[in-house]
């Protein structure tokens, strides 16, 4: 070390730990994925065991690949690249280790609780409330460690990858907290505070943006760091990367309602979701082209360098998936594709192609550096690439065929409105072959991943764990940044805020207030021009400093990301729900029905069955009258679902007798030949937790569900009386079961689905009077 030079060692140990965790969990998550895909072909693979059914394992698969595989990969990439981009070691080794072990503990907890049926019943948000708190705490630890590192950085300019990481941290915090607000009823159970349409909107605001800010923005940051690094040339257009960043942050957050097209969600929200989804085409493709054009002049390296090969394919899949997403958000396309396998295929082109290939490229890039050695086998890496690529293409093509077949068959009616395929099982039989190809494609991808594990293992064995180092000038002067208050208390910010606020008043307010807004808009513009003419550099200086000041920058990102959520969610949660419901309103559950509903959620039935009939002729003919906003107004959580591996259940109540449901749940094939639905024999053995019902009803009453006031004894007596009636019905059909069994409660729930009271909003009632 020279006299004025200081050598600093990066914390690469934590990068190695997160990388290995990602690889291990990735394999487990994908293995479960192949298993559940196989269950849709061969139902015996559910093994008649409750913790191995599709409904319980599918959340395990999605949570494992999102939070364990991509999550750990993201942390490895963020920690590795951030240290180098800001020229500082991670601020705290303790926080880094706490973050790592805390995150792994969360994953293990999820892997235990989900198969046991402990779930919140919302997609990608299934984990129970104590684990939610753990996730929030670990995310805060990550945020502190990250921002603390930014605080001690030696490089003051924030490279665009850091912007993407900042957006990830602040936005995921906001999304996760809001969508996981719950009222606990026990250590393993809670009810979300939002219900019905509100819960649906909040869920897809979260669900869509989990894709945006957990699976996309951090990986884009990784792309902007590692692709130039691997190609040995700077990013094609830094300007484009800035526009890419702000466009995504502003637009993505609005697009969630495209998951709820043609549902009971208010029309204006559906339109907003569709329009903003279409707008996403431009920034997404801008980002893809920026990534691919970074390889200009380096394309020949793709022949020999597996890292670039994975990156080029990963970025291409980003482009393909972000083309398909807006396409599926067009209402007429969505009418065909929603609830079908096309959506599942779309998601997998993003996760396997974009996330999986970017992860593989990053691992192959990092392993030789972190263990100071050479990659064990380029040939094996190439084999991984081709197996993975063929696997994805087979998977996605199979899902297109399957999804479009499902959509066409289920929506098909003749000129008289008669269903062309009246039995849902006809579609299940028709997609058997693509379902097999799906397993084959997924299996190939998994084999490729296993080859990567072997290759990296041999690489690691041949090297020694090594931490990167860098030299800094010990006497380097500190550059001045502005801080949050400095950023706001400046003419540039105040003029900008006024130029945004006053025209809004002018546009939207009436009368004298509107005129005043107009006058102030003009006055502010004139004042700003005069001010900046006098000191021409001040706005530019402010903006330059702003981009180097992480806290004000973070605050702006949060505001940008929050706008889309606020304008959609606030109007919907502040309205008088019951007064805007249409002509009917949901009956409040009886205690036994509520117990049955909790069993329905616990078994993960929503993974295959929707409860939302869209206003199409085919759906109304097949399932019953289209779903109203009032039909699920008291559902905490909502259960509209997002796919139909089985038929919609919104109006299945009293369609069949109690004995039909009993026989069907014990042996689905007996009444539905060819069905892929697992059997549920344990429901006739396990007991319903009747004692918990008074507490659950009390919690729901707190959340606004109008349960009648009853004592605990009355609640339990009512549940037992209803159970006894169902037991008697079954006995009349020669089926013996005791009233305390879960199947009885589940039948009670299924038999009331779709039953509503006639409802007149207050205004209509008043007008009639």
């Amino acid at each position: 070390m020279s006299e004025n030079k200081l050598t600093i060692e990066y914390n690469d140990r934590i990068v190695r730990m997160f990388m290995m965790a990602s690889i291990i969990w990735g394999f487990v998550g994908m293995l479960v994925g192949v298993l559940i895909a196989s269950q849709l072909n061969y139902k015996f693979l559910n093994f008649n065991m409750e913790w191995l059914t599709f409904g319980r394992l599918r959340p395990l698969h999605t949570n494992a690949v999102i939070f364990a595989f991509v999550g750990n990969m993201m942390f490895a990439g963020v920690y590795h690249s951030t240290q180098r981009l800001v020229k500082a070691r991670l601020a705290s080794d303790f926080l880094s280790n706490l973050h790592f072990w805390g995150w792994q503990l969360i994953i293990v907890s999820a892997a235990i609780t989900l198969p046991l049926g402990f779930t919140r019943g919302k997609e990608y948000a299934e984990l129970i409330w104590p684990i939610n708190i753990g996730v929030a705490l670990m995310w805060v630890v990550f945020a502190i460690n990250f921002f603390w590192t930014l605080g001690i950085r030696r490089e003051k300019s924030l490279y665009v990858a850091i912007w993407f990481y900042i957006a990830t941290i602040v936005t995921v915090t906001m999304l996760y907290v809001v969508n996981h607000l719950s009222l606990p009823t026990s250590l393993t159970h809670s009810y979300p505070i939002f219900g019905g349409v509100q819960d649906a909107l909040v869920q897809w605001w979260y669900g869509h943006n989990a894709v945006a800010f957990f699976l996309t923005t951090p990986i884009l940051g990784i792309m902007y760091y590692y692709v130039p690094k691997a190609a040995g040339r700077p990013v094609y257009s830094y300007r484009l990367s800035i526009v890419h960043f702000w466009s995504l942050v502003f637009i993505y957050i609005w697009a969630g309602p495209h998951h709820l097209l043609y549902t009971a969600l208010p029309g204006w929200l559906q339109s907003l979701g569709m329009i903003f989804s279409l707008m996403l085409w431009a920034p997404s493709w801008g980002g893809m082209l920026n990534g691919l054009l970074t390889l200009r002049g380096a394309w020949h390296k793709l022949r020999t360098d597996p890292v670039l090969k994975f990156f080029a394919a990963g970025v291409t899949f980003y482009g393909m998936a972000t083309f398909e997403g807006p396409l599926l958000s067009i209402k007429s396309v969505n009418a065909l594709a929603h609830y079908t396998d096309w959506i599942i295929g779309h998601v997998h082109s993003g996760t396997l192609g974009w996330n999986g290939f970017m992860a593989a490229g990053m691992f192959y890039f990092l392993a030789p550096k972190l263990w100071k050695t050479k990659l064990y086998s380029v040939a094996l890496a190439n084999m991984h690439f081709w197996l993975g690529l063929v696997g994805i293409l087979l998977y996605v093509a199979a899902m297109w065929v399957s999804g479009i077949t499902q959509g066409l068959m289920l929506n098909s009616v003749d000129a008289n409105g008669v269903l062309a395929y009246s039995n849902f099982l006809e579609t299940v039989q028709s997609i058997k072959l693509p379902m097999l190809f799906r397993v084959f494609g997924g299996g190939l991808y998994l084999i490729g991943f296993a080859i990567m594990i072997y290759n990296l293992w041999k690489t690691i064995k041949s090297g020694t764990p090594t931490n990167g180092t860098f030299e800094v000038d010990a006497n380097e002067p500190k550059e001045e940044t502005m801080g949050l208050i400095g950023a706001i208390a400046s003419p540039s910010f105040l003029y900008s805020a006024a130029i945004i606020a006053f025209p809004c008043v002018w546009l939207f307010a009436d009368g004298i207030v509107g005129h005043l807004g107009g006058l102030l808009s003009i006055a502010t513009c004139v004042a700003a021009v005069l001010h900046f003419k006098k000191s021409s550099a001040s706005f530019e200086d402010w903006h330059e400093k702003f981009l180097k000041s992480s806290m004000p920058f973070t605050a702006l990102v949060l505001v940008a990301a929050a706008i889309g959520g606020i304008v959609q969610i606030v109007p919907l949660v502040t309205i008088d729900r019951e007064n805007v419901a249409e002509d009917r309103i949901q009956k409040v559950y009886t205690p036994l029905e509520l117990a049955g509903r909790d069993i329905y959620i616990s078994e993960g039935c929503y993974n295959c069955h929707s409860q939302m009939i869209r206003p199409f002729v085919a759906e109304v003919k097949r399932y019953g009258d289209y779903s109203r906003l009032g039909d699920s107004i008291y559902d905490h959580p909502y259960q509209w679902g997002s796919r139909r591996a089985g038929p919609d259940l919104a109006r299945v109540g009293i369609k069949y007798g109690d004995e039909w449901h009993y026989t069907h749940m014990m042996n689905t094939g007996a009444l539905s030949p060819g069905s892929t639905m697992p059997n549920y024999p344990w429901l006739a053995k396990k007991e319903t937790n009747i004692a918990a019902l008074p507490g659950k009803i009390s919690a729901l009453r707190t959340l606004g569900v109008p349960f009648t006031e009853k004592s605990d004894e009355e609640v339990i007596a009512e549940a037992n009386a209803q159970a006894q009636r169902i037991v008697q019905n079954l006995k009349d059909k020669q089926i013996e079961v005791t009233k305390d069994k879960q199947i009885v409660a589940l039948i009670a729930y299924l038999q009331q689905l779709g039953l509503t009271d006639n409802h007149q909003p207050d205004e209509v009632t008043a007008a009639a009077q």
Binding site: L85, V160, Y226, R239, I242, V243, W246, P503, G564
Partner: protein, 52 residues
């Protein structure tokens, strides 16, 4: 399409205000991006290549 919800007073304004905010802020950012000096862009774009 069926009318599913009554429009209620101020709530209808929020999307319009949000959209206006979004559009204005977006225009400012694009304008600032176009104004960035070339040497700053070059420096920023080379940052990943600066170290190991």
């Amino acid at each position: 399409m069926w009318k599913r919800i009554e429009y209620m007073e101020w709530q209808t304004l929020l999307p319009q205000i949000g959209f206006a905010l979004f559009a204005i802020a977006f225009v400012i950012i694009i304008w600032r991006t176009l104004k960035i000096k070339k040497q700053d862009l070059d420096k920023a774009s080379r940052m990943p290549l600066d170290n190991d």
